[in-house]
């Protein structure tokens, strides 16, 4: 949690957001049916689907207002205005770590999981996420973020244009192979960053093992034991399937 002074400052911003949200929510609610028959039910105000949303909307606005008054009274609002005037775009170390976490989770969920082979997406994700924080160095984190972010950007471009489909049609599992190459590249890069530092090197080694073992355990357990179809079953999952069927 933040410090008290910071909190009051943040409260001012949140209170504005809350009040705006409440107004928007009320506006939406008032468009819901409140009379006449709807869905086979004779509508009265107390039956309307708008009933709870209205309560929520008013509640949020009232509490938002209370929050705002408190923030103004304790000087949070004034602090906020002051800080806006002396605004600067400098990101602290913990800010970089925050962005790094978001980058990892965001790309994993929105880019990798839905489009890339399940196994490969976990290996790629962990190959970035573990060394990025385990090296415990702001410089390394930034470098790895640039590398990882660059690869993801290329993938995004591939996937929003028809390029990915064309590639996959040309060569089976082309995108999976691309991620495989990127993963190898990422690991070589991380290994170079770890060079000459024994703690980093041992952490890199542990990280690499974890990055491979985790999906190696999870994929078969979910796919073949718990019978959960995976979001994207690309090259490696299909390979596992062939092995599974030939063993059975």
């Amino acid at each position: 949690m933040m410090e008290k002074k910071q909190l009051r400052k943040a409260d001012f911003v949140t209170s504005i957001l809350l009040i705006l949200f409440g107004i928007w929510e009320l506006a939406q609610s008032f468009q819901m049916p409140m009379r006449d028959t709807y869905g086979g039910v004779r509508n009265v105000w107390y039956v309307s689907p708008a009933l709870m949303p209205l309560v929520i909307g008013f509640g949020v606005i009232i509490l938002g207002a209370v929050l705002m008054i408190n923030s103004i009274r304790t000087g949070g609002a004034a602090d906020f205005i002051k800080s806006v005037q002396s605004f600067s775009l400098k990101i602290s170390d913990s800010g970089v770590r925050f962005i790094g976490t978001l980058l990892a989770i965001g790309t994993f969920v929105y880019l990798l999981i839905p489009r890339v082979d399940f196994f490969m997406s976990i290996v790629f994700f962990l190959s970035f996420f573990i060394p990025a924080f385990a090296f415990d160095s702001g410089e390394d984190l930034k470098k790895l973020m640039v590398f990882y972010g660059g690869v993801c950007l290329i993938m995004v471009i591939l996937f929003i244009t028809p390029a990915a489909d064309a590639l996959n049609a040309l060569f089976m599992f082309a995108t999976d192979v691309l991620i495989l190459i990127a993963t190898i590249g990422l690991n070589i890069y991380a290994a170079r960053l770890a060079k000459g530092d024994d703690t980093k090197r041992s952490r890199f080694r542990t990280g690499l093992i974890v990055a491979i073992v985790t999906p190696l355990v999870l994929t078969p357990v979910f796919r073949f034991f718990l019978l959960v179809p995976l979001p994207h079953e690309g090259g490696i999952v299909q390979l596992m399937q062939i092995i599974y069927y030939s063993l059975r």
């Binding site: 107390y46 949303p53 509640g59």
Partner: protein
């Protein structure tokens, strides 16, 4: 008479079940699987029962029931691991446990907490089971007293509880979080008239937000960000404290255990709601009843014991309407209903006649499952505590992967993941700004129930609130709510404090006067 019959079936069943080594193998296998399921963020008891339903199709009926009930018991209990050790509740049922369990683990007493919850969970399950054998017809009649207004009041009570989970900063921040949770619950087509609320024409939102992705988003993602961003290292236990049940603490918390078990059975018995709510209600009640409510939220053993007893007692409770009315008492029990039907058992009022001894068998399995859970828990807990020694930079990414798979696996919908991330980021900022997250999750869980039943109740009564005062169960619930609110008000606390000190004074005066005048 009926209870006696059930009891007879109960003892013969235990003998029969234990005699078969395969059954024992399945029992322990399923319990351990359940614990792993519960402990993994996002994988819930419901999912465990659902997945195992497919796998047990070929087994005979009693072996299948052993597997399903054992994974249910293990899953509800296993949720406490993740709650206590990493502050990410493994299941919604264990969310209340995280509030106090995590601070305990941070003090380096994680092992002791796990030992306690294991015993509390086992006791809870057994008490729930006793109710199944003895009072099942009576309780299922009581469950039939629940009409729309009672359901609404029950949901309302749960929401009021979020008022007792006060924020570390300003009191009303808890309310704001609660309202935001209620708003999330409004998304989707409303259950009465099918009007699409806040869906923006996206048919994926039509069915509403699922609890698991919201839960994992709201608790998991902020925790991952915080640990990595602030380079947070949990305090190591000076020495691995003993996991072995600490019977003294259990004894001291005995009244909490009994009360929580009753709450758990009661809530489980009400159709449609289950472990998740039982944990919160028990937490709120324990806080109100405790002599040291200020310790709640800071690592109180009373709180952890109360929530874990209640959510496990809920299992027995949920079996009651399932077996005697054919109405599942909780989400995992709904899966069990399907599994039972696959095995040719139609639960309902005629079960006693069609399959005499079946209720006894179910109780026997519950007892065996809770014993197996206790043994497995005692063996596992010591090992599990060691995860705290893994450096967070390696541990948290794995947790991230597990949380993602967990949120995906229940509905096998990638859309749930898309939802989880923004919820998590908002929850992170809210946590940073001193908002408690628990009311938000309670709002999401109880919102639809409150909304639907309030409107349906008013629809039936023609807009009148009179049924709240004329129906006995509704009136009791209403009075409990009023008491809960009043007990939060400052003047009541002052008055009670006055009263207590006056009583103490008088007692002291009497004892001192007694000392002066020997008989």
């Amino acid at each position: 008479m009926e209870a006696l019959n059930a009891l007879g079936g109960f003892f013969t069943s235990i003998g029969g079940l234990v005699a078969d080594p395969i059954n024992l193998l399945v029992l322990f296998g399923a319990v351990v699987m359940g614990i792993i399921f519960g402990a993994t963020p996002g994988l819930t008891a419901t999912l465990g029962v659902a997945l195992l339903t497919t796998l047990t199709y070929g087994m005979n009926q009693s072996t299948a029931m052993i597997a399903l009930l054992a994974i249910y018991v293990g899953g509800v209990y296993g949720g406490s691991y993740a709650s206590i050790l990493i502050n990410i509740p493994g299941t919604a049922a264990a969310a209340a446990t995280a509030l106090d369990g995590y601070p305990i683990a941070m003090r380096g007493e994680g092992g002791r907490a796990l030992g306690l919850t294991t015993t509390a969970s086992a006791i809870g399950t057994i008490i729930g089971m006793i109710f199944v054998v003895s009072l099942s017809p009576l309780i299922s009649e009581l469950a039939l007293q629940f009409t729309s207004f009672e359901f609404f009041l029950l949901a309302f009570f749960g929401i009021i509880i979020s008022g007792t989970l006060t924020s570390p900063d300003l009191v009303y921040k808890g309310w704001i979080a609660g309202f935001l949770g209620l708003f999330l619950a409004m998304v989707g087509r409303d259950a009465l008239q099918f009007y699409p609320r806040f869906t923006f024409g996206n048919s994926q939102l039509d069915g509403g937000l699922e609890v698991v992705p919201v839960l994992i988003g709201a608790f998991g993602i902020p925790q991952i960000i915080q640990v990595l961003k602030d380079k947070f290292v949990p305090k190591q236990a000076a020495k691995l404290d003993r996991i072995v049940p600490d019977f003294k603490t259990i004894g001291r918390n005995f009244k909490h255990i009994i009360r929580s078990a009753l709450i758990g059975v009661g809530i489980g018995a009400v159709p449609g709601i289950g472990e998740d709510i039982a944990g919160w209600v028990s937490y709120g009640t324990a806080k109100n009843a405790s002599k040291t409510p200020e310790q709640f939220g800071k690592g109180s053993y009373e709180a952890v014991v109360s929530t874990e007893t209640a959510n496990n007692a809920c299992i027995g409770g949920a079996m009651i309407p399932l077996l005697s009315l054919g109405v599942p008492g909780s989400p995992p029990a709904a899966m069990l209903l399907g599994a039972l039907m696959l095995h040719g058992v139609a639960p309902g009022p005629m079960l006693r006649i069609d399959h005499p001894g079946f209720i006894g068998e179910i109780s026997a399995i519950l007892l065996l499952a809770s014993i197996a859970m206790w043994i497995a828990g005692m063996l596992l807990a010591k090992q599990v505590v060691k995860v705290l020694r893994i450096p967070p930079a390696i541990f948290m990414p794995i947790i991230a992967v597990l949380a993602v798979i967990g949120s995906y696996a229940l509905g096998t919908k990638v859309f749930n993941l898309y939802l989880m991330v923004p919820v998590g980021i908002i929850a992170y900022f809210l946590t940073e700004m001193g908002y408690p997250i628990a009311p938000l999750v309670i709002g999401v869980i109880l919102g639809p129930m409150a909304d639907q039943n309030l409107r349906r109740g008013l629809m039936i009564s023609g807009g009148s609130f009179a049924p709240i005062f004329t129906r006995p169960v509704a009136l009791i619930l209403f009075l409990v709510i009023v008491f809960t609110i009043v007990s939060q008000l400052p003047f009541y606390k002052r008055w009670m404090g006055d009263l207590r000190s006056r009583v103490a004074e008088r007692r002291q005066a009497r004892s001192s006067s007694g000392a002066n005048k020997p008989e």
